[in-house]
């Protein structure tokens, strides 16, 4: 058994150490908010935070995240109150929505490091997250909006 810290909880899994974190989360731990898109760190759908950094869980082996703080979309808030989630709802960002957990986790990691990103900084930080519905203009606007919400008191 391997012990993991996910969203502040200590969880045990029988997945082998060479299992990608994505499948540990989705399949062994039943947390399906993190999505499988490409398996090669090319699309960003599987993005989670490892010690606060945006990380592609599809290429991150379980053995490499033991003892680290893992945060997934399920751990962002209990009630969609995280400023990034609020901004996403205000602007109705998702369409099919499949990539949005990853988009939100990338955006959240960006705002943790850079509370007031420019368009260019947003583009650069979000370039690893593909959205086939093309929600990019709303994602960018929502990141600016989330930055405002954080500035006026919401915790990132």
């Amino acid at each position: 058994m391997t012990t993991l810290k996910v969203n502040g909880h200590t969880l045990e899994t029988d997945a082998t150490p060479d299992t990608p974190l994505l499948w540990v989360l989705r399949d062994h731990l039943g947390m399906t908010g993190t999505k499988f898109g490409c398996g090669k760190s090319l699309c960003g759908a599987c993005t989670v935070h490892v010690d606060g950094s945006a990380t592609r869980s599809c290429v991150t082996l379980l053995s490499t995240v033991v003892g680290k703080d893992i945060r997934t979309i399920e751990g962002l808030s209990q009630d969609r109150s995280h400023p990034v989630q609020r901004a996403w709802m205000e602007l109705d960002v998702p369409q099919c929505g499949y990539c949005q957990s990853g988009q939100i986790m990338s955006a959240t990691a960006l705002l943790l490091q850079n509370p007031a990103p420019t368009d260019a900084e947003i583009d650069s930080a979000m370039a690893g997250n593909i959205c086939r519905c093309g929600t990019y203009p709303r994602i960018r606007a929502a990141i600016h909006r989330a930055a405002e919400l954080i500035k006026t008191g919401g915790a990132a």
Binding site: T32, G33, A45, M89, C96, G97, C133, G134, Y136, P137
Partner: protein, 721 residues
Amino acid sequence: MSARPTGPGGDLPAMDRRKFLQASALAGGGLIIGISLTGCGRPSDKAATPGVGGQPNAWLRIGGDESITILIDKSEMGQGVYTALPMLIAEELDVPLSAVRVEFAPAGKDYVNTLLGTQITGGSTSVREAWTKLRTAGAQARAMLIGAAADAWKVEASTLKLAGGAVVDAGGKKATFGQLAEAAAKRAPPKDATPKERTTYALIGKPQTRLDTPSKVDGTATYGIDVKLSGMKYAALAQCPTLGGKVRSVDSSAAEKLPGVVKVVTVGSGVAVVADHYWQARVARDALKITWDAGPNAGLSSARILAELKGATGTPQSARKDGDVDAAIKAAKRQVSASYELPLLAHATMEPMNCTADAKADGCDVYVGTQIQQVAQGAVANALGLKPEQVRIHTQMLGGGFGRRLEVDFIPAAAEASKAVGAPVQVIWSREDDMTHDAYRPPAYDVATAAFDGNNGLSAVHLKLTSPSVTARMFPPVVEKNVDPFAVEAAANYLYDVPNVSVEYVRHEIGINVGYWRSVSHSLNCFVVESFMDELAHVAGKDPFEFRRALLDKQPRAKRVLEEVASRAGWGKAADGHHQGIALMEGYGTYVAQVADISMVDGKMKVHKITCAVDCGQMVNPRIVESQITSGIVYGLSAALWGEVTLEDGKVRQTNFDNYRVLRMNDAPELEVHLIESTETPGGIGEPSTAVVAPAVANALFAASGKRVRALPFAAQRGLV
């Protein structure tokens, strides 16, 4: 199954207006409203015509607990039906959208799409098909609720109205929907229930927040891949790398010894490795030793496909014939001809193909994101030897559709594997499986010829379009005697006022399955028609916008969007170093015009901005209309810039997003959408904008560089993107 094409203008067929509605009591009290299609002629699909008094299909369920549940027969794949369709019913019930719950309807003949002849989410039909049907269903419910209250209170129905989920009278007397539901359900549904007047709309035409947004920002939305059943196993599928090939033999001994592996099952589409966990199945799949029978496509290459399309000798079928093109060309003062090439494209939905099935003695439950429930049902029934009604389709959220989930190739394997192991099984395709085993957008080779008369007037246009037919495989009856209507879109409805027009289609199959891809043949033909219009404008020495506009007097809606986009984009006033291109199309009853703004740096093209004007008739939710228009542009621009699936030895060379490049945020141009207010019948919005962006960019590229790109993608031109 049959598909009913819509007319070029996207008109609703008469049968939609002859629909008839039925209502019945819901077990346990309450009201359900169904619509059946008795009397609608669907000659090739008689089984889909239920009789009166048959099992009613619910669009609307009002419970004694005041719950209002709206069932949607269309799949939510990002296009917003989860919000737009409930709006149509909520409008008639005078309740806010927040008061309704939404459920996906099961597979069933009562949910047949009246525009397309089977239960299907496609063809940008969702709102067009529902527009009259669901508002009428809502109007019937309204009349039945008011009728129940009028009887109870012994007053005239005309003195009552709906407000806040209740029937009220002028004096404030009130009975809630829940209180009235049972009595209302006993009433005969009125035949003359009329939907509300446009001027009284509270919801329709006003931006509404999507109902599916909350579940899509906290990870709780359930897509097919998220389904979890008790005791469920996971499977990875090995499919023949050569398209159309089969398994000859399998040595699974090594794979079966690996941890977690439950069983290796040969299924119709390949070899499924079933394991306790997905990653175990994926690892074990690599340990299979499979000998494939490459089948008829061994040796097939993209070069051969193009050569075949160019040399196709099939008899051209006429899709449009005005006047006498041959005579006009003979008499021409000047003749212009150009040929265009379009590649195979993958759909590349974000959610790879997957399906979960639970095969039991009495049937099979299937949990899947599908755009085509009845065909999925039939495919599973065939695979397991069941009757279709023994297969229960539970539609999940779709992580993108774009036409890919109109295919059912990824569905039966889960059922076959489930039956073999006696447990529910979820089959998940890898991205590589998905990319290399798609039903690709057809390639095309098209030749356009035009004639100018002695007054420099465009006197003839002839289009000869050569491509394989999706419809011939999917809905054979549609093309038995006629040209495939879904191969000549954006061409057969040629908009410009030219006295002699001929559109011909040569169907040429290429050995592999081609599929419907967002905007279907519009994405092929709009590129040809609008690139060619640009060429003709330059030959005529005219401005590309003015040249088009002068030929649109008989097409006021097309003319309006063209003028709107030119005005909004500042046509002719590009910034220094920037260049513009324009394109126009009618598709799905919607008119779209776009202006692309680009610049060139060291021979490399950068797309800065796409301005788009749209007339889609009456809008239901303008917020979703706008997002679908921008979505379509991004999807179309990805394909225009980089999209190309190539084959070598019958195998697809593109495998993942590194070698099948799509638009990312840092590549995305500025997008500006202008929606034209209209009271015309709603048109489709999911697809039309996709097709218009490629010619707009190609025309801008010509303006910038004098280089005419007639073969997509742009990336095939060395150094251009």
